[in-house]
Symmetry: C2
């Protein structure tokens, strides 16, 4: 039995080049959308890393090809973020699986892949090099002209220059050519920017499209949420590989200091209690752990209930105030109910879920709940029905319980999930896996917000009932008054208008006020 | 502005270890399902590569942990395929992005990733090495005990032995430990094997579950479809990167031989016509192409309409006969309508779509169309609503046009897409992107099969109408006969039963026959 099977190795860049569908670069429409999205997200991350109010400028220029259809565009994305160190620019933009997103910290990017995929797609469709200018605000601007050697997964620097940076400007400018179909991509691109503005109301975003149309999303608040901080693995989420790497790298001399040094929220007291319960010697060196010992340790850490839950303070959720500001600005509803859950966790990763319900007003009636999904402040626009939030809004929540018929009444649901690790199911970051802990948090958040909405709707219903009752009174009271007057032999009927006015005053302000609350 | 951003590089193994969600290894339930699936698919591919009728044996043994819930299992997957060359075993099982799936050829595996992910997941959850035994049917069996060095992306061989192979056995046996939740995964695992048997009726598959239950899926046919053959890129699907690689590697001395040598279905006549139309010198050396020249060539190849379409003969679809055999065996419907489309193409990849409609009989009534999705003979069980076939069956096809109300009548739709490149949207191979060409082929296939179903349902409707008419006759004819007899002064009424019997004979056989056709 002779085999003719050909074995070969390919580079990570080659892998993603061959399988660009899975990173969201499947065709000229989708690729243009993914390009904007990945680069805007990198820019926002670069600003937040330095606590800088983001100002982002995106421009598409038509270079050649059909005006309506697939064309070549020159793309420019500019931000005022922290910049990339000069010597790291070629790798950061030209080597797949090299980047700054591999820490345990909430960020928009997670795969360290998107920006390079955008450049790679531009290269394979136009064969043109990319230009990068960046500065960290020191005396120099670094300018590179470069391409990606896909087979070797390494940058190919064609030209490098430095310029003086007298104004101490900081940020990054990326310019390259790519193929795309803006005519068909435009609605998604604009929707993406609009929703990004909703979830990042402290960012200025300017977009110039290939026809020269200008889209400006001004910041509405100047306050940024507290920044996300890197964190250590939680003992409930650590696997064998993680623990083995820590064992190999640690300088801790005993298990007690090993646990307190490398794990999230493990102090000496809790570490001591844990080691006692699982029968491990606190003074043993971690380097002496056998392979079976590591497995035993990991299993014990997963099972031990005495650890503190992951601390959500390393996360950077939007907060009720900013979320409500975004929802009100973009959706202009009659009533908004916003809620933020306490930090929780899944598989040892901290998790915060925020939810907003927007009812009536300018929210359109579509015959179904309108779902806006965000993860670490980025909007998710594709594959909605596969997302955990869709499952919860359409399967688990009984909207009628909240006095609402979403088939007939206008309701928008905004779900924002924050974590150091978003459980995306695709590299293209389209939707979230239905991890049970995430599902439960989304459900509970919706129930909380739903109660607020129910209170408002009950009040509105009561007001409506009262108004109807008032209408009945209004119709019959004059007759009764007239009859009673005649019966009592009086001439003048009692004045009823003051009574009606008083009832109306008792009735309406309540509703008016709630819709403003 | 000083940056505290940490830049680092990670290996491909590390990338997929960190992002195992995207490869279908998100939790102990899903991981166990993905493990079976990836390994069974590799086994089926290894058999088909050698045109061997597959015999595959899968066994889960409970090792430790809860019996109902998350446990450690010993997994064994054995096939009678072509085997892996001894010296390539460590890399083939221990190095991510190394493999035999990177040619342009229809195969179940596409990412060269799944088998290694199964081993990697086992390793990070149990810290136990994997055992591989393989032979290509020569004098030796190769046995390895090994693990994966995730950070370096390389195999770590712990032990290597060879054994004599007197019986010239060929195939591969993989055994390793992994964590899983069989209690919750079992229904999907069994459903996966059942559907795999439906799409591969020439395979023997045996599965022993952790409770010792035996599932046997015997082959029902001994005929295998013709094997898939590797192919060259089609000029419509080649991008700049592909052409540049060919230019760098070619020994063709002029453009004419360059095109005929490296592209699918390009002969000298067509190549000559193409070069003339785009004004390129047929005698120019491909090595002299400038970067702009390559872009121009690629654009011209995409636009030129004189190329022959990709040839589907390199594909290995199931064929109407095998598809129908599988559908009838597994679904036992009242009526089956099967269709295979002519080969077509998307982005230069050949494409064949096969469809089966199964109506009535044992097909359950669920209030909706039951959709079975297959791609290159593997069943897709997750994220159905994101798949192009769901979009077509639920959005584009007007079932009422085919005299069918899928909300009330039992209908199963089987869609099988074959290609040298399936447009998966996830590494976990859950669903197909809605590439327009794929969508159109699925729709046309459903319409074709739908017409067959419609003919049957019309016939059935007509028969039903006739039967009702007959019932009316049956009720009134005796009265008329009686009345007419009296009126004519006769004593004996004419016999009606022979007439009814004759009508019934005229009526039923037609339907009976069609449901067997």
């Amino acid at each position: 039995m002779s085999s003719t099977t050909l074995f070969e190795e390919i580079s990570p860049a080659d892998f993603f080049y061959r399988n660009r569908d899975i990173a969201g670069f499947s065709n000229p429409v989708r690729a243009l959308y993914s390009t904007v999205r990945e680069l805007v997200e990198n820019s926002l991350d670069a600003c937040e890393a330095g606590q800088i109010l983001p100002s982002i400028y995106v421009r598409f220029q038509h270079v050649s090809g059909a005006v309506d259809g697939v064309s070549i565009y020159r793309i420019r994305v500019q931000d005022n973020g922290t910049g990339v160190p000069g010597e790291k620019i070629p790798l950061a933009f030209g080597k797949v699986l090299y980047g700054s997103k591999y820490e345990l910290r909430q960020s928009r990017g997670t795969f360290g892949l998107g920006g390079k995929m955008a450049i790679l797609y531009g290269q394979i469709t136009t064969n043109m090099p990319a230009h990068v200018i960046s500065s960290q605000g020191d005396g120099y601007l670094h300018e590179y002209e470069m391409s990606i050697d896909i087979q070797r997964n390494r940058p190919n620097v064609l030209r490098y220059r430095t310029h003086p940076n007298e104004k101490r400007w900081h940020g990054t400018i990326l310019e390259f050519w790519t193929e795309g179909d803006y005519t068909r991509a435009s609605s998604k691109v604009v929707e993406y920017l609009k929703q990004t503005a909703m979830a990042n109301p402290y960012a200025d975003i300017t977009f110039v499209d290939p026809r020269g149309r200008l889209y400006v999303f001004d910041r509405t608040v100047k306050k940024m949420p507290p920044p996300a901080r890197p964190t250590k693995p939680h003992p409930h989420g650590a696997d064998v590989e993680t623990v083995q790497r820590l064992v190999a790298a640690t300088d801790a001399e005993d298990m007690l200091s090993f646990l307190t040094k490398h794990f999230h929220r493990v102090g000496r007291r809790i570490a001591g209690r844990f080691l006692k319960e699982v029968g491990m010697n606190p003074l043993q060196s971690p380097k002496e752990l056998s392979p079976e010992g590591v497995v035993k340790l990991v299993a014990a850490m997963k099972a031990f209930e005495g650890f503190l839950p992951p601390d959500g303070s390393c996360l950077s959720p939007l907060g009720k105030e900013l979320l409500e500001a975004g929802v009100v600005k973009e959706l202009q509803p009659e009533f908004t109910s916003v809620t933020q859950r306490q930090p929780s966790a899944y598989s040892g990763y901290p998790l915060v879920v925020e939810v907003g319900l927007a009812y009536g007003g300018q929210v359109p009636k579509t015959g179904d709940v309108i779902l806006y999904r965000f993860a670490n402040k980025i909007p998710l626009l594709y594959d909605e029905t596969s997302d955990v939030s869709w499952k919860v809004t359409h399967g688990s929540v009984n909207w009628r319980h909240y006095k609402l018929n979403p088939l007939e009444e206008p309701l928008a649901v905004v779900v924002h999930v924050c974590s150091t690790k978003i459980p995306y199911k695709t590299v293209g970051k389209e939707f979230l896996a239905d991890r049970p802990e995430v599902e439960r948090e989304v459900l509970n958040a919706l129930r909380e917000a739903g109660r607020g909405l129910m209170a408002y709707l009950s009040m509105k219903e009561r007001a409506e009932r009262d108004r109807r009752r008032l209408d009945v009174y209004r119709r019959y009271l004059p007759k009764i008054a007239h009859f009673a007057t005649r019966l009592s032999g009086k001439e003048e009927e009692p004045p009823l208008e003051p009574l009606f006015a008083k009832v109306a005053r008792l009735d309406n302000p309540e509703v008016e006020e709630a819709s403003r609350a």
